[in-house]
Symmetry: D2
Subunit: 387 residues, 4 copies
């Protein structure tokens, strides 16, 4: 622990999943000087003066429906080549300690949402107190969920609290989680494509509690590349005619997305980039395929057909072969550190400057990666430096 | 011609080559409202307020060693699918008119460089006077040349002028061309990878003449993509381990680049992007292959190996299938319009803000496409708007 | 016309579609010595001794629901870069002549199938008589249709003829067409993925009439490559773990396949290759996307994940960028010539040796391209040589 | 050891390299029932009746200039993900035993070739006697060497033996090794692209000794795919216009091939496939790049431009991402088993039927993979089955 610095809780919904496990292994490894900081945006030289919490001061905890202990999950990831086996062996004790701070939960039941939320809130408060954390950041890493049906109760907080006491299901898991987190005084980041805190009632709650939040849907692969490449066509006045994409995913996310309703949620989130960046609608068919043998790896192929001077037709293709957990985990740590600092600096409400991390950023239509990065840097510097 | 506006001469070294012919066909087509403005950066809405010369006011001329008339060159490009045949048929008269303004030249002889330069200068002055152009922009579109051997005469203008009178070859074709253009009071853009105006003696001449210049090596394909993608890795703190590239080119440029010395010049220019953007040296083998059957088309394949969180190794690949002339021609027109305006606005010396157009930009180390674009827009707005 | 040789009718269902138009343009061009024979399997040196009908002796005709005349269809294909415009201009008279032999038809109505079949049969007989053709080959090039619902009437010919007199729809368009063609004494090839002649009742009819037939679903792109590549993995004992494919199609076929039921028919036909060649089931998600801006062009991306010695995981990817009509048209001409010869040589029933041309070959499980080619060559030589 | 079966020596020149180490690990693992037989051609069902030596009866030995012990080499390969670490840990004792049978050698000196050959021959005889092997197969796995300068001494055996006694270097390492192996009565396979046994003098020696031999240059990646794909274009009468290839290699082979003379030898061997299969010359630029960060992995990109019906231009691309050692090692074991059986069956001289394994097969111009496989199967069945 760094000398006299406050402890910061980092609480994951879905704490035993691949992304969370990789983030915890990495966070612990860095705290113990066992790993370098590649992949962490918050460690770039340009952000060196921002007073972010040290890795030694992060305390991990969370919820999961899965009972498999964290050290075992880490071993499985090591076997799959996602994290180094030697690292997992060195950290087995620390991982066991974190595992004691993970509470097993049941999936969200059809009724009793108020009780469920109260249970989450209670766990969060208890965690903060027991671990003596100055503040806690909650990051939603649970599975992609189907789109939430609209409800009048989403429009304001009183209506929502009333509806929650009824027996109908009014909030999706991610939104119920956001509700509980905000009530417990925790900042919130939604790394999955669900509704999360993006309902007027929840925005109201965040404002009332003075809490910053961010989301949604971590930008880790094909969409990341899109947000770097689509501006190139725009800046050169080249007209994109079609942009077709195919994503092959193994692992848990792939299995979830094979459920068509969940895919709809994800695909909608991925599609926004092009229209916003190019300023016109493009024919952009997009597929997400579950290919179990790929494990934690994801391969995407994109084919861009575009038109240049005097109507000449040209094409670009790319394939991206990434390890999803390795790409997402450092961003999760970045978000936790940045939100903790923003909370400390008195920021509240949706943080549009964190758009850099998300496929479907809250509070802004800016999807161009370079502009998002500039906003992030400016915002972070505005939070105040090391004293 | 737009009402009362001054005529602007656009003079190409290599005026019957593919890029130049496509630029002239396109420039005429736009002036006659026969083509839209896709591919022209200078026509983006963000630059709408900059008072650039209208296409109707551009007067094309140039030099070439090739005697084939421009209308015939345009037909050949139409057969190759680079420009629409119907457009060429409509413009055959205008193309013939331009062809009368193209002077055939011999290749640069071993001795007699002063005479050669005087001949170029004379042709430029005569063109300006005869065509009643307010100003003339010279764009070098001649073939890639071998790197220029260093000489003490490059260091200052007096030494250079003395050396030119001797019988030794002291300047490459592109530099001799720049020398003549600047002496004739023309602004200058070097779209090929040679030395052009980048010698202290020539920079001195430009300054003395109060002329703006830009270069070098038009960024039209693989390097364009690199300058959009490499920053993505940097912003995400992903460590690029290797970036290998292969370029297959047909056409005249491919044949020239099959000459190994010329390739060296081109490859050096392409390699700069990565080191500058990433801030560390990357293993980046690069090939340029001449594949005659590809004609004016260029296919590039790049393979990027990179490392993420906890050392995980990932890869990205892209292929780019572009028509080189269709990509280069609008940029050439952009440069002519922007330099004419800059000249008019009293700018002189190397224009770093035009880096957006070049693989190896003069006056700046900025290779990130988004930042280059921002500089360009700011600079153009600084030139003053439509009155 | 070649001296004294019999005329052979080539009748297309879908005679004004892209494939048919390209085949007719090409067939006429070769007859007039205006084009070479690239793409024609029947012109390979190894088949030089087989006594196939000469291109001068082919007489084209057909049915279509589309009234646009053939010369206009050919012009549109020339504009799209599928056939050379100069060729179309030279053949405009011949194309008009063929167009006079194309009968416009209504789409298959819900009832009255017997009458519809009788109308087709009548047109075929009239064509043969009027044009004095020794024999006629019918090739189905109509659009992909949804899978046909099973019916007891498919099991034998008497039951089928009885059912056709009723008002229920018992045959798909392709099967009704096969029925009419066989009744008219024409050999039949099904180049689309439908049921065609593959019903026991129709096989019985072909046998009774002594007619050879072949099908189905022309193998022109991704599946062609699969049938060349999958055997490589098998011969090297490399275990394919997944083989994912995406097809981007513009043009008429793409639009039809955007209809999900039609896609099901096509995808099923494409999927057979892997299981048959590898001998085990492979996870093989497959998409067909309609991307209008691609026109007659098709781009496919396949990603193959495989396992080698000691479990090492490796991958191969390919992209195929083909012009569907240019790939299909010569195969259609090959099939017409080969079936005409087979008919002449007294062959009847399903011709398994023509599997080389089809995604879903009738009469064989052999999907390996090299073995299919060997069967084809042997079979063709068995038909007897030039006398 | 299988009951009463004779022991077969498998001797590797380059026994501590990656391919050899992988082959030994795999051979031992299979003998101990610790690994399955994926990747082994000799284990395909179609060859089940050929009486090949069992893995339990193979005895490994060899030469290397590298002193690093085999168990350590295997650990390094496990760290690089080429072989499973768990397997190496289980086999560490057996690997140590094999290591005792590996003799360290100096690189071939400038003079004294006769002595060097005698030393190799002596080691081979001693190995066979000490290990009581019925026969020994020598496989050359040493590094790629520059092309051998022609010499009159290559033409016949007497001249060669005379020249070897002189002080000039008359044979390359691979040929000197072949000479020694054949003198020692061992069959020989050349898995590298060098001259090996392909000199008339050595062929004479093999014949005199009654020994079978095979070569050269193992076909494991890009060329393997070429030999499966090029026939597809030929069989469909599609005209290949260019076939450009780029190979990125890390590891020892990459470093060697960065030496331009060695590359020349490899590239020549790779280029033969296309001309032989297609029957015409194709523009086929080919690069081999050394990219250290890729380790034992190899990524190849090939771009094929081809012409179809009526001159339509199309393209295909593929990328191959393979682990060279994992692809080569099982082929090395296949060759050892097949040559041992061929020797036993009385075959001598170059074995053209083993072309399936090689980029540059001896004794045949057949490069089509399917035909090579058929020859292999027929030949193997001709060796006689299990008694």
């Amino acid at each position: 622990m760094s000398d006299g610095a406050p402890r910061i809780g980092v609480w994951f919904a879905g704490a035993r999943g691949s992304v969370s496990t990789t983030a915890i292994v990495g966070g612990l490894a860095i705290a113990h000087r066992l790993a370098d900081r590649t992949g962490l945006v918050s460690e770039l030289p340009v952000l060196a003066d921002v007073a972010l919490p040290a890795f030694e001061d992060l305390v991990f905890g969370g919820h999961d429906v899965d009972p498999i202990p964290l050290p075992r999950r880490a071993e499985l990831l090591a076997d799959a080549g996602v994290v180094p086996g030697a690292l997992v062996r060195k950290l087995v004790g620390d991982l066991g300690e974190v595992d004691h701070r993970i509470r097993q939960v049941t999936p969200l039941p059809a009724g009793g949402q108020a009780e469920y939320a109260a249970r989450i809130e209670h766990d969060l408060r208890e965690f903060r107190d027991r671990e003596a954390c100055e503040r806690v950041v909650v990051v939603n890493l649970s599975s992609t969920e189907p789109p939430l049906a609209a409800s009048p109760a989403h429009a304001d907080l009183d209506a929502l609290e009333l509806a929650l006491r009824g027996s109908d299901r009014v909030l999706s898991t991610s939104s119920l989680y956001a509700y509980a987190a905000l009530r417990a005084g925790c900042s919130f980041a939604d790394f999955t494509p669900g509704s999360g805190a993006r309902l007027p009632a929840l925005a109201e709650l965040a404002q009332r509690q003075g809490l910053p939040w961010a989301g949604s849907d971590g930008k880790t692969g094909e969409t990341l590349v899109k947000s770097a490449l689509a501006p190139m066509f725009a800046m050169r006045n080249l007209r994109v005619r079609s942009w077709a994409g195919t994503n092959l995913l193994g692992g848990g996310d792939g299995a979830t997305l094979a459920d068509e309703r969940a895919t709809a949620s994800k695909a909608a989130s991925k599609a926004r980039v092009l229209g916003e960046v190019l300023g016109y609608e493009v024919d952009a068919p997009l597929h997400i395929d579950y290919v179990p043998d790929l494990g934690d790896w994801k391969t995407a192929w994109d084919h861009v057909s575009f038109e240049g001077f005097l109507g000449t037709r040209m094409a670009m293709q790319f394939t991206w072969n990434g390890c999803d957990s390795a790409l997402a985990a450092p961003l999760v740590l970045d978000l936790a550190r940045l939100l903790a600092r923003a909370h400390d600096a008195g920021r509240s409400g949706p943080q549009a400057a964190l758009a850099f991390f998300f496929k479907d950023p809250v509070g802004t239509d800016e999807h161009r990666l370079a502009q998002q990065f500039e906003s992030l840097v400016e915002w972070a510097h505005g939070l105040g430096g090391r004293s």
